[in-house]
């Protein structure tokens, strides 16, 4: 009690303990941000400056033109458009179907539940590289090769979304559902009227995970998308790195640009998001 009073009653006061904590936090944050700072600094330099040691963190002159140069070198806009289509569609399908399936796993009793759930968990443990080829052959035979839809279906039904949503739903007291059932609400009604409104945080979590995951996916689009007009931002970035492999300043400028959309999504959703992981992570 007294401890709590000490720390919260006088928020403006700086105790020595607090100063130590702030210094620690700032140090750790600096450690976290250092690569990003270097990325931005390098993106504003000229080629030769990038390699000078000891490092100059602030460029002698700021070469903002690096940022306009990258748009002329590769069709960044097309890449952005494709990635946005894929990421938005995947996020939508994933969130909807996962929350649906997770409800059954968390709140309903039915035959084969454990076996089915084990199937989901088991596939998380298998590296994608191992089943990538059979999967590719299958998708190809379904006519999905070199179509944006291939990446959509590839990402949209991942086991991860179901697992995450189930963890969250399990924390919602079962009494709530029981009460609703007695009131005559159907299972669909319970899902729509009770579970969904309660899970905004979990949905925000899944949305950002899925969006970020899809946005940053490289191997999937690399294998499945072939024509120039279908390529995504990560494939483009890798291509950019290879075509300009000596121009680190351009690579870093392109990397910074590719980070912008995920950063925006993250900043918008982070409040919900942090609550979301919080609740689903509480219980194993």
């Amino acid at each position: 009690m007294s401890k709590q009073a000490k720390t919260t009653a006088l928020p403006g006061q700086l105790t020595p303990g607090k100063i130590v904590i702030y210094i620690l936090l700032i140090l750790v944050s600096a450690f976290t941000l250092i690569p990003f700072v270097w990325m931005i600094s390098a993106s504003l330099k000229l080629d030769r400056e990038v390699f000078t040691f000891p490092m100059k963190w602030i460029p002698e002159t700021f070469h903002w033109e690096n940022y306009s140069l990258i748009w002329t070198k590769v069709p960044m806009l097309t890449y952005f458009k494709n990635t946005a289509i894929i990421a938005l569609s995947v996020t939508f399908i994933q969130t909807l179907t996962s929350s649906f399936a997770a409800y059954a796993f968390a709140k309903m009793n039915f035959k084969g539940r454990n076996v089915l759930f084990l199937c989901y968990i088991g596939t998380i443990a298998v590296p994608w590289q191992a089943y990538m080829l059979p999967q590719f052959i299958l998708m190809r035979s379904m006519g999905l090769y070199d179509k944006l839809q291939a990446i959509m279906v590839l990402q949209a039904f991942s086991a991860f979304g179901v697992f995450l949503m189930r963890q969250f739903y399990q924390n919602v007291p079962s009494d709530l559902c029981e009460a609703a059932r007695i009131d005559g609400l159907s299972e669909y009604g319970i899902w729509a009227r009770i579970m969904l409104p309660l899970s905004t945080a979990a949905i925000a979590t899944l949305v950002i995970f899925t969006f970020v995951g899809t946005w940053n996916d490289y191997m999937g689009p690399m294998i499945y998308l072939t024509r120039e007009e279908n390529k995504t931002i990560q494939v483009g970035l890798r291509r950019f790195i290879q075509e300009n492999s000596s121009d680190y300043y351009l690579i870093m400028a392109a990397s910074v640009v590719s980070l912008v959309p995920v950063t925006i999504v993250f900043l918008f959703l982070q409040r919900y998001f942090i609550e979301g992981i919080a609740t689903s992570g509480l219980k194993g």
């Binding site: 944050s29 690569p35 490092m55 596939t123 443990a125 191992a130 299958l138 086991a159 299972e187 942090i274």
Partner: protein, 327 residues
């Protein structure tokens, strides 16, 4: 009356059950159909593939070879000979120092054993600090979480620069009396630590947020009771906080273990398994077998070893967790 009501009730229940199951399946169907077609079937195919020889082409050209692929990856002939000639232990030693699979296993297990606890400890410590009334907690949270959002391609390039000879990390460490000044990724020992560093850097913010939430759920009364009992801060942490965080630690460690065993991107970009085979990990090995040497059967066999280890680890964790929650 009761005698005739009982069976009818049972029938009704089973009909209800059947209806329930159908409803449940209708909930599952949209996701499960996609999941089954695009993930489950290919995974099952890759299990089958581990017993075949296949160089690509049509699936019908797969040739059943039994356990041959497993014999190949374990190099059973050579290991067996070593065992027969110089004893069991020498065979094991040969496996872990010379055979690709043994080296990859050793590296991956080492990486996992170091990275998982380090990530968890960093995450808990950060969460403990941010759990107190700290100004700007939202900003710190966002900053610490940010690495998880960034794409690995660009980030690994940046880290390679950070860890170069005369780079900022080495200079920082030399300031504290370290004499090491070599590019981390070019040193057999430090290359592994470079990958650990980047992984912990990426994981800690994410799991910190999870712990933060869990900490907020620890009932205040427990601390008050502990204070009344005269427990100091250290004792409070070990006797109240840590046990209360157990479910979170369980969840986090399972996700981390799976993630560590499947590490690929970081290694591929930063060291490509080198120098020599110092950072060769299981998935890198799988990838090379499949797409450089076109030995898909062998690649699948390695994947099965990985799957087996991860499943075993997960089951072990689950049973430990059950033991705790039962007592």
């Amino acid at each position: 009356m009761s005698g005739s009501a009982e069976p009818r009730k049972k029938r009704k229940m089973s009909r209800l059950e059947r209806k329930n199951t159908l409803i449940a399946y209708s909930f599952l169907a949209p996701n499960f159909l996609g999941f089954a077609i695009f993930t489950l079937i290919p995974v099952v195919l890759s299990v089958v593939m581990s017993f075949t020889e296949w160089k690509g082409g049509s699936l019908t050209t797969m040739k059943w070879v039994g356990l041959n692929n497993y014999a190949t990856i374990f190099n059973s002939a050579k290991v067996g000979k070593q065992m027969a000639e110089n004893g069991f232990l020498s065979g094991i030693g040969y496996f872990f120092s010379k055979v690709d699979l043994g080296i990859a296993l050793k590296n991956t297990v080492f990486f996992t054993v170091v990275t998982v606890p380090l990530s968890l400890i960093c995450a808990i410590l950060l969460a403990l600090v941010l759990n107190r009334a700290v100004k700007g907690a939202v900003v710190f949270r966002a900053i610490l979480f940010f690495p998880y959002v960034a794409s690995m391609v660009a980030i690994c390039v940046c880290w390679n620069f950070m860890l170069m000879k005369n780079g900022p990390v080495n200079q920082f460490m030399m300031f504290f009396g370290s004499t090491f000044n070599k590019s981390w990724t070019a040193d057999s020992t430090m290359a592994m630590w470079a990958i650990v560093l980047v992984s912990v850097w990426r994981n800690m913010g994410y799991y910190m947020v999870i712990y933060l939430a869990a900490l907020q759920g620890v009932p205040r009364e427990l601390y008050e009771a502990a204070t009344v009992d005269g427990a100091n801060k250290m004792q409070q942490f070990f006797n109240v906080t840590l046990p209360q965080l157990r479910p979170t630690t369980f969840f986090a460690s399972i996700m981390l273990i799976i993630g560590c065993f499947k590490i690929y991107d970081t290694v591929a970009i930063m060291t490509n398994g080198g120098p020599g085979r110092a950072t060769k990990m299981l998935v890198l090995y799988i990838y090379n077998e499949a797409f450089t040497n076109f030995n898909y059967g062998v690649a699948s066999a390695i994947s099965m070893i990985l799957l087996l280890i991860v499943l075993l680890g997960t089951i072990l964790q689950f049973s430990r967790e059950n033991r705790y929650s039962n007592t």
